[in-house]
Symmetry: C2
């Protein structure tokens, strides 16, 4: 396993972590200041800055992208199917322009939450079927653009509204069906927050293998967790055995960035430099 | 599938649902008033009333027990192993005295949360191994007492603190290992709140079969969910396809009570009779 204790060359910042503290330019500058090599921006931040300017600023700061957040929300009123695919194709195009290795996909679930205004449904099986259809279609486009699609299994507490692919096993079943050749075009974004609890985690990481591990997101699970969405912990403050799981990933040949992604009211209230300094410290000590 | 639209003879009340509104005697009286046939009390409520008095009051009101809540919290400081097993044996004895068909088990997870004061650990694999050991030991005792043990897979959002058995598959793996003969002494409490999201739910219900389905708990998953523990929804107010899943259970031969179990600040604030009346209405219309 790589030794992270002496440097943070494999640390990447997901810009969600500090989105309340400043715009993308501010975050890029902070990353450069703290010696980050990787960044993973969100689409709305890139749009606010302008795609070309964002790409130039990221390159100018010497940053690589570890991913691009996010595509998905595949389920909708059937009349909006074209809107969904167009939106996701634009995400792929933006990722290509930014030089991102992958688009992270939060696939959506019941259509009224995935694309508000869609008629309400409780049929999660139908949502799962639809997700696979749209993913298959998007994959054709992403292959041509040479941008990988990183399917992110989401914690089951988001199964109704954010994503209906909730286990590594389910995500890998989809990957094996749509990309049986393990081409590298389709794989997983493995976020510890979503998968740490899974009794099959080690086994499914082994099943994923190097070709299917496209992104690795770290944070921690707090006890108690006070909010379903916005109470993730900084690495080391919770109960996840981060190094044990990273070891499983690296045993498969994963050698990419560890991307810090927090949704946290607590950390959004801290100064930008405090957050980045803490990320670096914890990356070295507990990741 | 049974038709629940015309009566509520298969409705049971888990006393957690109205625990803030009154003591066990008050709840028993309310159940009788609203024509419930089933009840599932919690240990602390029984203890407050006295075991013999509680048993007499429940029988006197013409109520059957659909279960007894709850045993478990198996993980602890090793020095407290005897305390854990003694506590759970008492739960079995109480269940026998009350005439409960099963003790529902919330198995615990990291020891510092399962039995406060135990030294902190992040090793969920160790917790899972320990749960299986204690369960095996308790099963010997429960068999003699002729009380079944109903292992309750908990939603993964409780994996750190309340229970480290988080999927039907995992729970059934444990059952198959400890009770390969499918004797009826060990099975599942299937609570929709915990398992509704599972893409393998139908398949694992089929695997469970009639012998392993010991209890069926109903409520609903709200979007948004505002609190991890105390924001369950009344049946029909959320996104769970209750009838579809009940149909899967009944296809295996399940013909027991549908036990309403809400942990809900909203419903704890309503008058007792309002809650029970609503349970009856929703049982008839959406369960």
């Amino acid at each position: 396993m790589r030794d992270f204790s002496k440097d943070h060359r494999w640390l990447s910042l997901n810009t969600m972590t500090v989105r309340k503290q400043g715009d993308l330019q501010t975050i890029i500058d902070a990353c450069a200041r703290h010696g980050f090599r990787g960044i993973s921006p969100w689409r709305d931040q890139v749009a606010a800055m302008g795609l070309a300017r964002a790409a130039a600023a990221i390159r100018g700061a010497g940053l690589e992208l570890s991913g691009y957040c996010r595509g998905g929300m595949f389920t909708s009123d059937p009349s909006r199917a074209q809107e969904v695919i167009d939106d996701n194709r634009r995400a792929v195009d933006e990722a290509a322009a930014l030089g991102a290795p992958c688009v992270v996909l939060v696939v959506g679930s019941l259509p009224q939450y995935s694309r508000p205004g869609s008629p309400p449904s409780k049929d999660i099986a139908a949502a799962r079927a639809r997700v696979k259809e749209v993913l298959a279609e998007l994959l054709l486009y992403a292959r041509k653009a040479k941008v990988a699609l990183a399917l992110e299994p989401l914690h089951p507490m988001y199964a109704a509204d954010r994503g209906c692919v909730n286990t590594m096993r389910h995500a890998l079943d989809i990957c094996d069906e749509l990309d049986p050749q393990r081409s590298g075009a389709l794989g997983l974004a493995i976020d510890l927050y979503h998968v740490w609890w899974d009794p099959e985690l080690k086994q499914q990481i082994e099943r994923a293998g190097r070709e299917r591990i496209l992104a690795f997101h770290v944070c921690d699970w707090l006890v108690p967790t006070k909010h379903l969405l916005e109470d993730r912990g900084m690495m080391g403050d919770g109960v996840i055995e981060i190094q044990r799981i990273r070891n499983w990933l690296e045993a498969q040949g994963f050698s990419g960035y560890c991307e810090v992604e927090l949704f946290s009211r607590h950390w959004w209230d801290q100064p930008l430099d405090t957050v980045l300094r803490t990320c670096v410290e914890r990356h070295r000590s507990v990741v």
